[in-house]
């Protein structure tokens, strides 16, 4: 008996893998489906017993029609029944696969069987990822427009001394990210984090770049133990928020710090080099009294200049460069009078707090950009000296140098880490060899293309937020330790508060919806505080 088959039970041509290579997946989806760049899909390969994961990198319209111009003809006014033959072609980049037998995640070194099923993953599918995440929570994993609720993105603290970069244009949520990052650091206390804040926004909040009122780190009351603030604010404010007075003494200063703050001529640079080992107090005293007009000193003996004096060291300098250096030092002393004093330094206390794995906030509201760099360069230099000294004490090979881990934040890092600048030596040293001494940099910039590529190459953790400039995106994609090249469209279309986090601690670049700081600390403050007895050994 003749019979008829129903051909429309389902449409097996959609959501099955048709890609051709290990690094490029492809499938088709109905033309009216809502899909987003960055959506993560699960590809179930039942023949091999493995589950692949892939991220959508591109969407395009396609059809089964031989006439490629079917949709552009002048009479193409209406179409019926586009259901099966008009569709999206979806390109995806593989993230890796989980072997169902042992639950382990592997790099995508193989390819799913042809026509493997493409589905949406759920939180349970990402159990392997949850286990590999670190400690410093910054947000939730994102798949396209949605977040996967139960998969928190946590950066491993152990990789942070290998430097972190935060890249975003203005208004894309850098400050929110940093405050959220700080709150997690305060909670976990895995390393010391230094931030110099010239705008006063980190302490008690203020207004975001888009004008919204924001909270500060002091509002994370449950994590207050993990925060130390050094400020120039008046005593009433210091008492209110339990802040320390910031004080930097003259001897913390070295003349080399001028190179960071000013563009020096060769002649001025010679003076700086001549005084490289001289203490700050002595230098400030010298330039406070010296008359530049006596230089060059033709006859030191006649001028009463002894061989050991500072004036002797620069006796051949012309009066002009000496006058300029004198002026710079006077400006530094006068411009930072609120915290730069002849005696009394907070730096030992700052380093102590860092070594106790606190977030140390150096709060200098209403100070100039030059003051910010001045403070930052002095503290950075002192931290590097301290860690170098400790490393020498331990011996570089016995790995005790990692006992103190410090991450130093540099905002607008292109100012001090641009290509070719030898003047910013201290930050460069930090970037190139800081990891050996447990000192990492948190490089924040909206112009990564203006940061020295050699510095970018040292960074192991990339937090990439929306970057509109193609040059910026290309330099980031070229520097990251994981392949971000196929995620360019996603980077370009990231929304405010969204980031791609690529770090050697997590197996693939993770799209992240950064926690809103205010909501995050609200949740943290609601959590039970650990009892003071927790962690103590039981039974003396």
């Amino acid at each position: 008996m003749m019979n008829l088959h129903d051909t429309d039970k389902n449409d097996p041509s959609k959501y099955r893998l048709i890609g051709r290579s290990v690094l490029s997946y492809r499938f088709i989806a109905p033309y009216d489906t809502t899909l987003y760049i960055g959506d993560i899909k699960k590809i179930t390969d039942t023949t091999k017993g493995v589950t692949f994961f892939a991220k959508i990198t591109d969407l395009s319209h396609d059809s089964n029609f031989a006439d490629t111009r079917w949709d552009t003809r002048v009479y193409a006014e209406q179409f019926y029944g586009l259901g099966e033959d008009v569709f999206f072609t979806v390109d995806a980049v593989p993230l890796g696969f989980v072997d169902n037998a042992d639950g382990k995640f592997h790099k995508p070194r193989t390819i799913p069987s042809k026509f493997s099923t493409v589905e949406d993953p759920d939180a349970e599918d990402f159990r392997f990822l949850t286990e590999q995440m670190g400690e410093i929570e910054v947000g939730l994993m994102r798949s396209g427009q949605d977040v996967i609720r139960d998969v928190a993105v946590r950066i491993p603290s152990r990789v942070l001394p290998q430097h972190m970069g935060v890249f975003a244009t203005t208004g894309m949520g850098k400050s929110n990210f940093m405050k959220t990052f700080c709150a997690s650091c305060m909670k976990k206390r895995k390393f010391g984090l230094l931030i110099v804040d010239p705008h006063g926004e980190y302490v008690s909040g203020g207004r975001s770049s888009i004008g919204e009122p924001t909270n500060g780190l002091v509002h994370y009351t449950a994590g207050r133990e993990g925060l130390a603030i050094f400020t120039i604010r008046p005593e009433t404010d210091r008492k209110k928020y339990g802040m320390n007075r910031l004080s930097i003494e003259y001897d913390d200063f070295r003349i080399g710090d001028l190179s960071i703050l000013y563009d020096l001529s060769a002649a001025q640079q010679e003076i700086v080099e001549a005084f490289s080992g001289v203490g700050g107090a002595e230098l400030i005293g010298f330039f406070g009294t010296i008359d530049p007009e006596i230089f060059p000193i033709r006859d030191p003996a006649a001028a009463g200049i002894s061989e050991r004096s500072l004036a002797w060291k620069i006796r051949n300098s012309m009066g002009g460069p000496v006058r300029v250096i004198k002026g710079h030092i006077e400006n530094i002393v006068n411009g930072n009078r609120s915290f730069f004093k002849s005696q009394g330094s907070s730096i030992p206390e700052i380093i102590k707090n860092l070594h106790e794995n606190r977030v140390v906030l150096v709060d200098i509201p209403d100070m100039s950009e030059r003051s910010e760099l001045f403070v930052l360069s002095i503290i950075t230099r002192r931290i590097m000296e301290r860690h170098r000294s400790e490393a020498r004490g331990f011996g570089i090979d016995d790995h005790k140098e990692s006992s103190h881990q410090v991450l130093i934040t540099i905002e607008e890092a292109q100012r001090v880490l641009a290509s070719g600048g030898s003047s910013t030596q201290v930050f460069r040293e930090c970037a190139m060899e800081g990891r050996k001494f447990g000192v990492g940099l948190c490089v924040i910039t909206q112009q990564p293309k203006n940061v020295d590529p050699k510095v970018l190459a040292q960074i192991n953790t990339f937090v990439v937020m929306a970057l509109g400039d193609r040059g910026d995106r290309e330099i980031i994609m070229g520097s990251a330790k994981q392949d971000l090249s196929k995620m360019e469209i996603e980077i370009q279309t990231l929304d405010r508060g969204e980031a791609i986090i690529s770090t050697i601690g997590i197996p693939f670049p993770v799209s992240t919806r950064i926690h809103k700081f205010e909501d995050y600390i609200g949740d943290l403050n609601k959590q039970k505080r650990p009892s003071i007895s927790e962690g103590l050994e039981k039974g003396f």
């Binding site: 008996m1 003749m2 019979n3 008829l4 088959h5 129903d6 051909t7 429309d8 029609f65 006439d67 079917w70 949709d71 003809r73 009479y75 193409a76 006014e77 209406q78 179409f79 019926y80 029944g81 259901g83 033959d85």
Partner: protein, 342 residues
């Protein structure tokens, strides 16, 4: 190519003969000869399509030798409700051998399987293309019969082709389908993209009607009933089940279509059917052609992939039956395949 006067003359002659059938004043001649005026054209008013079921078939010669040919064929239907496809059904694909011997051996069992009795007239093998077409029509009529019994009253059943059989054994089958449709309140129409119908000793009908409509300024979509008396002749008139109409179903239609509706249909009923056809002929891919028929065609068509697969399946079984590669090549090998390599 070098100039060849014989070749040039032959091409010139052919073009001239074609021109004779469609002269410059074709519309004028057609009007004068057939007495058609603008009043004979009716305008379509596209309305709701309702339920429309389109049936189509497909066949192709898979392998050919001197003595036999292997054909595959199948049929399908696609049913729409106001332009939303409800369901599609497809018959299995069938193999048949055409030859050797004067009568086709696969036709009687196929006919019996479809209609429960043996065909009254055997099917000859002498014209392979015609035989393959009639095998395909057998399945197509069976699907039409099934749908005539299954569709809701008020539905429109379309056939891709005329309401005219090409083999005597199909005559009672189409009569039965017609009867079922009449009893169940289902409209029946045959839609043809081309027709052999001519008038005035060889002028083709469709270009003539189209030219006249243009001359008279008839706005598309339109339709017109064709008086059989104006036609030169009709093949197999004894198996003709339909009254001929010509229609242009869309402003941007590539060409008019020949539509056949059952005999003695009131004009009001024909108008309703034409309006429904026009309503489902606006798809931008093939404006002026009823979309359900396009969908049925795409469902049933034997694409290159399907043909390749069927050929492989058959070759595997031929090999398994013990026929050597050389024997196969002698049977079905084509020197043109070898020629094409050079």
């Amino acid at each position: 190519m070098a100039y060849d006067p014989e070749y040039e003359r032959s091409a010139e002659n052919t073009a001239g003969r074609i021109r004779e059938t469609v002269p410059e004043n074709l519309a004028e001649e057609f009007r004068e000869s057939c007495g058609i005026s603008s009043r004979d054209f009716r305008t379509c008013t596209p309305a709701s399509c309702g339920e429309i079921c389109a049936v189509d078939g497909s066949n192709t010669l898979l392998l050919e030798s001197g003595s036999i040919a292997i054909v595959i064929f199948r049929s399908a239907q696609s049913t729409f409700q106001n332009l939303e496809r409800g369901f599609r059904l497809l018959t299995p694909m069938r193999f048949a051998i055409i030859g050797h011997g004067p009568e086709n051996e696969d036709f009687p069992p196929l006919y019996e399987e479809c209609f429960g009795l043996l065909p009254g007239t055997p099917l000859g093998n002498e014209d392979r293309a015609r035989t393959a077409g009639i095998l395909r029509d057998t399945l197509e009529y069976w699907v039409m019969g099934q749908m005539a019994g299954a569709l809701e009253p008020g539905a429109l059943l379309l056939r891709d082709g005329p309401l005219r059989v090409s083999h005597a054994s199909h005559d009672p089958v189409l009569t039965g389908i017609e009867h079922t449709c009449k009893v169940r309140g289902i409209d029946l129409a045959g839609v043809s993209k081309q027709t052999s119908a001519t008038w005035g000793d060889g002028h083709p009908l469709l270009p003539s009607v189209h030219a006249l409509a243009e001359t008279l300024g008839i706005p598309s979509p339109w339709w017109i009933r064709i008086d059989p008396a104006i036609l030169d002749h009709t093949q197999f008139r004894q198996w003709q089940h339909g009254q001929m109409y010509v229609t242009r179903l869309h402003l941007r239609a590539r060409s008019p279509l020949k539509i056949e509706l059952i005999h003695d249909l009131p004009e009001s009923k024909a108008e309703v059917i034409m309006n429904r056809l026009a309503a489902c002929s606006g798809d931008g891919r093939i404006p002026g052609y009823p979309y359900p028929l396009f969908d049925a065609h795409r469902t049933v068509v034997l694409s290159q992939d399907i043909v390749k697969q069927a050929r492989s399946d058959l070759m595997r079984r031929i090999a398994a039956s013990g026929i050597s590669r050389q024997t196969y090549e002698i049977l079905f090998g084509d020197y043109h395949d070898e020629f094409a390599r050079y």
